[in-house]
Amino acid sequence: MAAAAPLVEQRSTGASGRRPVALVTGGAGAIGGATCRGLADLGYAVVVNHLDTAGDAALLASTIDGAAIEADVADLTAVEDMFIEIERTFGPVSVVVCGAGFSEVSPIDSLTASQWDRMLAVHLGGAFNVIRTAIPSMSLVSDAAIVTIASELALSGSAERAHYVSAKAALIGLTKSVAHELAPLGITANCVAPGPIDTPLLSPHHRTAEFFEALPLRRLGTPTEVADAVMYLVKARWTTGQVLSPNGGAVIQ
């Protein structure tokens, strides 16, 4: 049984007990980090979930008066242990942002079953595990919100990323279904589907002059612009089951 690592640190002295709690999976990356900072600015006690990036996560957590916790979201037991730890330390979770993921390029002919399975397990299974486990906690609070992070490519398709796009598109289907299902509990579920964002993970192709020429707004998005979309959906209490795609006009549909 995979046990979640103990929360690194809870810096706040007393006030955190009254702050609503937000969990951001994949919180130590560029987009996750901007999202964690945005939620902290809104007054949330933010738990930064990560996998194998303890240094970045701890540093981020220390700057936002939050906490870092390591868990592989693809592992349901690890996710359940993570929630036990979070609830014990902070109380029930109000907001989950499912951002854990990775990118990979492979033509269909050489895409292996294990690559396919891992992609689905992390992006889709990770969100399933986190949402499923969060519901008892979220049903105890008001203004609970789920935000999943998909991709503009889930809307447009992309060659040589069949597994990534399938997983991200499936994540949208999951989001819409739980929006229906959790609405009676007052829990919203929405999706942000970002276009090309200026992060270290962005492929060189997205930094070429030709790419910018083809992009209506002529520049990459910033992690903060994705976080802004997440913040909007956390606050928008009459919005559920929606997909918001900050993408510079890359996909207009």
Partner: protein, 236 residues
């Protein structure tokens, strides 16, 4: 090894209410149809198994030397509340409905490139609309739209890839849906029709004829598209 002068279509889930009509319709359009099924028959394959998918495609090529059309129709549907969803059931639905079409598309890709063929994936209205207690099914069918669009780009210009997204279809499944909401089959059918702008439920032939169009040369400019077949209940 024999060869077929006729175009060869592989249809999965061929013994289902919709699948059987797809098989008949493509046969009447002149296709040699490989009717793949989970349990019995000459073309048995569990699409959730990569080995079965590879084996099915290999057997088709050994028999006919070509594949022109792949219709990914096999699917499974279960309803589970998200917070009590058995992870094994969750992955079984994803494996059949989403991984199956991936395995078969991968195995068939080079044959479809050779034949300038096409793929049709059976999605669902729920992929776009979502559905309570249907998170795994909706995820699988929405994921299939992502797969459709990505393979449309990747396999172009040789292979066209499209999806059909039906709403309620009048098959034996409807009996279970009626029972779920405590109505008789006739009352449920009438209620569903009354809620549909066209005032009728789709029949399997509506789906089969849409697929027959998509795999015909008349659909040569369609790829990466989703054909919504729901009588106007959803206009995305």
């Amino acid at each position: 090894m024999s060869t077929s002068s006729r175009r060869v279509a592989v249809v999965t889930g061929a013994d289902g209410g919709i699948g059987a009509v797809i098989v008949e319709t493509l046969e009447s359009d002149g296709f040699e149809v490989v009717a793949a099924t989970l349990n019995d028959g000459d073309w048995q394959a569990d699409v959730a198994s990569e080995r079965d998918c590879d084996d099915l495609i290999a057997r088709v090529v050994a028999r006919y030397s070509r594949i022109d059309v792949l219709v990914n129709n096999a699917a499974t549907m279960e309803l589970h509340p998200i917070d009590k969803h058995d992870p094994v059931a969750w992955w079984r639905i994803l494996d059949v409905n989403l991984s199956g079409p991936f395995f078969l598309s991968k195995a068939a890709a080079r044959h479809l490139r050779q034949s300038r063929g096409c793929i049709v994936n059976m999605s669902s209205r729920i992929a776009t609309a979502g559905g309570a207690n249907a998170s795994a099914y909706a995820a699988s069918k929405a994921g299939l739209l992502g797969l459709t669009k990505s393979l449309a780009l990747e396999l172009a210009p040789h292979v066209r890839v499209n999806a059909v997204a039906p709403g309620a279809v009048d098959t034996s499944q409807l009996r279970f849906d009626a029972a779920e909401v405590g109505l008789s089959l006739d009352d449920y059918r009438a209620e569903m029709a009354a809620r549909t702008p066209t005032l009728r439920l789709a029949e399997p032939i509506d789906v089969a004829e849409t697929i027959a169009f998509l795999v015909s040369p008349r659909a040569r400019q369609y790829t990466g598209q989703v054909f919504h077949l729901n009588g106007g209940t959803l206009m995305p």
